[in-house]
Symmetry: C2
Subunit: 423 residues, 2 copies
Amino acid sequence: MTDDRVLATYLIESPHALEHAAEVIAGEQSSGTFVSVPGETQELKERFGARIESLEPLGTSDRPALPGSKGPKAHEGAPVYRRGRVAISFPLHNFGPSLPELMSTVAGNLYEIQELSGVRLVDLELPQAFADRYPGPGFGIDGTRRLAGVTGRPIVGTIIKPSIGLAIDALRPLVRDLATAGLDFIKDDELNADPPYAPLAERVPAVMAEIERVADATGRKAMYAFNITGDIDHMLRAHDMVRDAGGTCVMVNVNCVGLAAVAHLRRHCELPIHGHRAYFGAMARDPMLGIGFTAFQKMYRLAGVDHLHVGGFDSKFWETNDEVAQSIRDCLTPMFGDYRVMPAISSAQWAGSAVDIWGTTRTHDVIHLAGGGIIAHPGGTAAGVLSMRQGWEAAIAGVPLAEYARTRPELEAAIAKFGKRAG
Amino acid sequence: MTDDRVLATYLIESPHALEHAAEVIAGEQSSGTFVSVPGETQELKERFGARIESLEPLGTSDRPALPGSKGPKAHEGAPVYRRGRVAISFPLHNFGPSLPELMSTVAGNLYEIQELSGVRLVDLELPQAFADRYPGPGFGIDGTRRLAGVTGRPIVGTIIKPSIGLAIDALRPLVRDLATAGLDFIKDDELNADPPYAPLAERVPAVMAEIERVADATGRKAMYAFNITGDIDHMLRAHDMVRDAGGTCVMVNVNCVGLAAVAHLRRHCELPIHGHRAYFGAMARDPMLGIGFTAFQKMYRLAGVDHLHVGGFDSKFWETNDEVAQSIRDCLTPMFGDYRVMPAISSAQWAGSAVDIWGTTRTHDVIHLAGGGIIAHPGGTAAGVLSMRQGWEAAIAGVPLAEYARTRPELEAAIAKFGKRAG
């Protein structure tokens, strides 16, 4: 891609010819109204117009993916909905290197268009000017590993459960136990940010006291991701509070605060930002609407998250394992040098999940989160943590899980309790 | 609704019994992991659990609205997908009156759930605590009318076109002409915020000089909505720039900056916020996914917009006229006293659109935006503006458009040029 255009790739569906549908997107998102207006010269269109760079037909459907489309007027017989993959480039000087204005252009009013019965932003290529404006991940993979003290294997983590309702005096011993059990990473639930029953201002010192106490005893300081999701002033204050208490990570539900808020936090932030993607299903679950993960993660990597949730293999959520594997690869694909982020894998994870993750992605640069899969382990939390590491050792060594478990009772017990889920 | 619970209403679809599907949402969004964990006591569930308040079946479908669902294991024969409307209440003390945390709870991970083949947030009822935290619209309908100097009829507006590429020296005479022609309201396009070819820092003084010059001559000062969409610091600086130049409105693409950014701007803002909803189609066009307008607008009214785009009757966009009418009513429905906002109606509008708007909503508390419908009027822009007012006069008086046009050449010319669109 050139340095002066943004390339956006879409899956589209239309009752019109695909070329026409693509032209409508290009026109709507660069200039045009329902009748030609004075000033809309040919020269202006050439200098500021979006351009169709490629168009690949992908077959047809006899029913529209989305309601509200209208076919050509001269149409006779049953309508046919044509699908395709179209790449459209937009001149950068139409909006400049601004994330909110990028989104307005590549993911704005085009979802409204009647000529389309399906439209999904699936990829983005951005010119260097965006990297000059946005510093991207402040810590990324290396910085996170350094702060967590973990090399050569995944960061093994868990989520504080119950997600809601845990008072501070119940949280303290739980954090102590989790840190003592050897967890590298502990995080608040996405639902638990600053609730009245356990305000963040009380949670931060209580949690950090436990983390530091265990660190003094063991020499290993767990990374705790405090959920600072909230209004802008709250996030900045909460970040400072976590930093001042010796914390090493803050967590944000990125879609719930929005793109500008994440970019703003990043400029202020001195800790890794753990990006939870709650609401992502609303953006992506209809395969012919919204924003796919590949495009989504590029925007939030640029905004400055260091970790990003990607779902999990054999999870309780809707995505296929192939989609999860692709999301992991996406986070680790270079962009602007090292704007890579650590994928956070979660939901119904246990020791055996490592086999599929490693088998499909060949990476251990992940945060592997297990809830019940660790703390509901029959041997207790420490055994749960060990079983996770053993699962990864087996996967990376290419040894079948059951075989590796023969001399490792923690893995064996994990297989016995959670193994049916792997089937 | 009580003062200590949030009520969220969903359309859902599931291959399971509707009760079960609703329970999964309630559990996922208040507590729970894939196996029971220590500490998840019955008392905790009662105090912090979400509660199903009502459940109305809405028929079945033989195919899933969304991919990724899984039916009950014991299932035999072809699956049936049950649809329903379910109201679930969440204890406010689970998260407190925070908009980003509200969204995490009522519109977060639930879109991922396998037990659902469709899930859409359609309405919200919020306790008073949210109004205590968020001041809502700073100007609303009355404040906007006061600043625009318009009473007893809609605010008639237009959008600067071409939306992209207009240099400052071409913009100046255009703004002058529009203001002279009697427009109450002029706005930047959602694609035009702070582009390198016409930076906001140059656009604001140039535009305001023209607006003030016309105001000096005519006694009427048009409201100009400057698009300040961008990063947080940019928005705050841009707002100050507009205010200091005597401007009376700022515009933001609310979904492209996000909920926290809008709420933050509102706390700083001394001008009405014109909320553009670019990207809304991605949130709402699949009827069984995302967030419907009724719920959407409540969140952004609370965040503090004063105007909100609602699409338009017979527009070039996907929504039906019934949906647009409902969106207009939504914006004008009281919430926390007077947290009402002015709906901005746009896309393919002209004088005759007034008949349907008034006929279905019986309100003129709207910003009625026409682009080509005003500036491409055969008699010129001033005649275009007049025709819009005449269309509204006819609608409110209940006089057929053609009859009213007999003595009003501007309306007559509008019907001749744009009237076929009304059919």
